[in-house]
């Protein structure tokens, strides 16, 4: 009873809270990092150095009026933000933050497949939001979003096949263990795949330079134009939760998850003193930082250029990478 029900539920509760809290602080982090890149201070008013901004924002959003436009499709309009947030949270159940069983909720043997399929559901949230708003700008945005997310999903999924080939397993824990056995992070074995997943991840989370669906300057906020209050906040939470998911997945697949650098070199055994979950979070943070850094630096692609990049450049590379990996696997 305790083993099968209480402990998993406790873990879920802790994880869920941790994710939601870290998402609110992600917004603060993003604002701070971008501010530093732009030679300004960022939020400074709420609390010392503005750290309480992360608390003030959700409070503000909860207190705001939650408007449903008169012509909107009410059910879909309510369903859309839920549909985009829930998958982003569900994915965390299979992400191993550490080697011990304490640090992951479950380790299913098709973990990676589970992640791919569950994150795909998130697309519906955006499409439905645009459709249900019954408004032109959100509709345009959701059309873009559906095209963009589906194309880049192909890129990412294709690329992940080569990782699966290298690791020989779909289990997230198994993939990290495979890297331990190989004594090498897969990022060094599969650099092309790593770059592709990173780019695809940026596109799938609608981050700059692929933030077409919400292109503020063109579509006035995109699919969440008509949303306000907490429902708007759910989209926001989903976006940042997805960022964390992508960072976590990249960490697990390419940068050894909880493993220390160079897991096979005994001379660095001293680094084992640092617990695995700290390594994990440190690596994840690097990618989150990278995402924000990219946002502060790059302009935005145009929609058709983005599709061209996806279909004509990234997908062929992804397929070639799978073929090369397969051939190498057979030969070696």
């Amino acid at each position: 009873m305790v083993e099968t029900l209480v402990i998993p539920l406790l873990k879920i509760a802790v994880l869920l809270n941790a994710v939601l809290v870290s998402v609110t602080f992600m917004t603060l982090l993003e604002r701070k990092i971008i501010a530093w890149a732009q030679s300004r201070l960022g939020p400074m008013r709420v609390g010392p150095y503005g750290v309480l901004q992360a608390v003030a924002d959700p409070i503000k959003l909860i207190l705001k009026e939650d408007i449903t436009p008169a012509k909107a499709d009410k059910w879909m309009f309510t369903l859309a933000p839920i549909l985009s947030l829930v998958p982003a949270l569900v994915v965390f159940s299979v992400i191993p933050f550490g080697a011990e069983e304490l640090f992951y909720i479950t380790d299913i043997n098709v973990g990676l497949l589970f992640i791919i399929s569950v994150t795909s559901i998130g697309v519906y949230g955006i499409i439905l939001a645009g459709w249900a708003s019954n408004s032109k700008y959100p509709l345009l945005a959701s059309l873009r979003a559906s095209a963009q997310l589906i194309s880049y999903e192909i890129v990412v999924t294709m690329t992940l096949v080569s990782v699966i080939l290298t690791a020989g397993t779909l289990s997230m824990v198994g993939i990290v263990e495979a890297q331990q056995e190989a004594g090498l992070w897969f990022g060094f074995v599969q650099p092309v795949a790593f770059v592709l997943v990173l780019i695809g991840g940026l596109a799938e989370t609608n981050r700059n330079p692929f933030d077409m669906p919400e292109a503020e300057q063109e579509l006035t906020g995109g699919f969440h134009t008509e949303y306000s209050g907490m429902r708007f906040a759910l989209f926001f939470l989903a976006e940042y939760a997805n960022m964390i998911v992508i960072s976590a997945v990249v960490t697990v697949l390419f940068w050894g998850g909880w493993l220390r650098p160079f897991p096979s070199v005994d001379a660095l055994a001293l680094l084992d003193l640092i617990p695995g979950w700290i390594w994990f979070f440190a690596k994840m943070f690097v990618f989150l930082y990278l995402f924000i850094w990219i946002r502060a630096t790059l302009p935005r692609y145009r929609y058709d250029q983005l599709m061209r990049l996806g279909w004509k450049v990234l997908i062929p590379i992804a397929i070639a990478n799978v073929v090369v990996t397969g051939v190498a696997k057979v030969l070696l």
Binding site: Q38, S39, Y137, L140, L298, P299
Partner: protein, 373 residues
């Protein structure tokens, strides 16, 4: 046997209103777009949302009070507007402006050009999604506003020039601070370039977008960087020198392709040329009074005149009719570069994507206050 066309879904053009309240229309411009998917089939540019009747107002103000109104025409380049108006009245009255005043006016106008281009660069880059450039450009614009504040006390609407010269001489040490600013700006321009000029995404978003030939640009009455971007050599500072421009060396950058990227490069080069002009003007700043011999009551002789200057956005002209009796103009008409350049928007955006529309509104650099007046 005839093959029947397969029944298709109905396809409709989507009509959307971009503006008058939209984050990227730089004020209250309204563009009605007819879209086929994301491609613009037709566009209708609607203006007039901030018409304040400035031209009519001038008919009830005396000649000096009008300077204050010209501030509000292109409110991001107030000094240039002051200059254009004052010079037109001086031309009508045939007043000699002291050389020192003409030099200081040139410095002010060029500082204003840099400030206006900074604003343009920031918002244009922001429209295309590069948000950092926006804050970088505004950081430098702030320095210019500080210089203006020190000179005349105002940061946006300066009202700093007078018919016949200037109200104020420069404060002591101001020229050193302008020089220091020029040095800062020299360092900062490469920062913008590093973020944009060779950036692949920036190139893809601007090269080949909004191409207009020199002939078309001339026919549409474009002026300023949008005209020079198409390779047409036309700069009022060179063609009909005013203030003290005939005494300085500078060159007029020209584009070759007439696309958004060329217009971007031209404005960046104009930063450098403006700095060059400012440095020359400060080096050769003559001594003497800053106010010419002007009667206490300004009352130009009957007649009409047109005088144009090169504002940051293009050719800014004033046409003034005086009846010689009243202390106010009989008619004052502004030839605003933004208004004329906005004529080019519709031909530019047809056939492009929605995302390009904001880039193209940015590239012709309009200020709606100047369009509507």
């Amino acid at each position: 046997m005839a093959i029947e066309a397969a029944p298709m879904f109905d396809t409709d053009e989507l009509v959307i209103n971009m503006g008058p309240q939209h984050p990227s229309t730089h004020g209250v411009l309204r563009v009605v777009l007819r879209l086929d998917g994301e491609r613009v089939v037709d566009a209708d540019v609607v203006i007039g949302y901030i018409h304040r009747g400035i031209e009519k107002l001038t008919e009830n103000r005396d000649w000096t009070q009008i300077i204050l109104l010209t501030d509000r025409i292109d409110y991001v380049a107030a000094a240039t507007n002051n200059l254009g108006y004052c010079e037109t009245v001086e031309k009508l009255m045939q007043v000699e402006v002291p050389r020192r005043a003409r030099y200081i006016r040139t410095v002010l106008a060029e500082l204003q050009r840099i400030a206006s281009h900074c604003l343009w660069l920031g918002t244009h880059a922001m429209d295309i999604g590069a948000m950092t450039v926006f804050l970088y450009a505004f950081r430098e614009r702030e320095l210019i506003l500080d210089l203006f504040e020190e000179y005349c006390g105002a940061r946006l609407t300066y009202n700093s020039m007078r018919i016949g010269g200037l109200l104020l001489d420069i404060p002591s040490g101001w020229d050193h601070r302008v020089r220091a600013f020029c040095d800062v700006m020299d360092e900062k321009i490469p920062e913008y370039e590093e973020l944009l000029t060779n950036n692949r995404i920036w190139l893809e978003r601007t090269r080949g977008i909004g191409v207009i030939s020199g002939v078309d640009a001339t026919a549409l009455g474009l002026s300023g960087p949008p005209l020079r971007g198409s390779g047409v050599y036309r700069d009022v500072r060179k063609d009909e020198p005013y203030a003290a421009y005939d005494e300085f060396e500078f060159h007029v950058p020209l584009g070759t392709n007439g696309d958004t990227y060329d217009r971007y490069l031209i404005r960046l080069e104009e930063f450098r040329q403006s700095l060059r002009i400012i440095r020359q003007a400060l080096d050769g700043l003559p001594e003497g009074p800053v106010m010419g011999k002007v009667p206490r009551l300004i009352k130009p002789p009957a007649g009409e005149t047109y005088h144009a200057i090169e504002s940051p956005k293009g050719e800014l002209g004033y046409f003034i009719v005086s009846d010689g009796r009243a202390t106010n103009p009989y008619r004052l008409r502004v030839r605003p570069p933004s208004f004329c350049n906005l004529q080019g928007l519709r031909p530019l955006i047809i056939g492009h994507m929605v995302a390009d529309v904001v880039a193209l509104i940015g590239t012709i650099d309009v200020v709606l206050g100047e369009v509507d007046r």
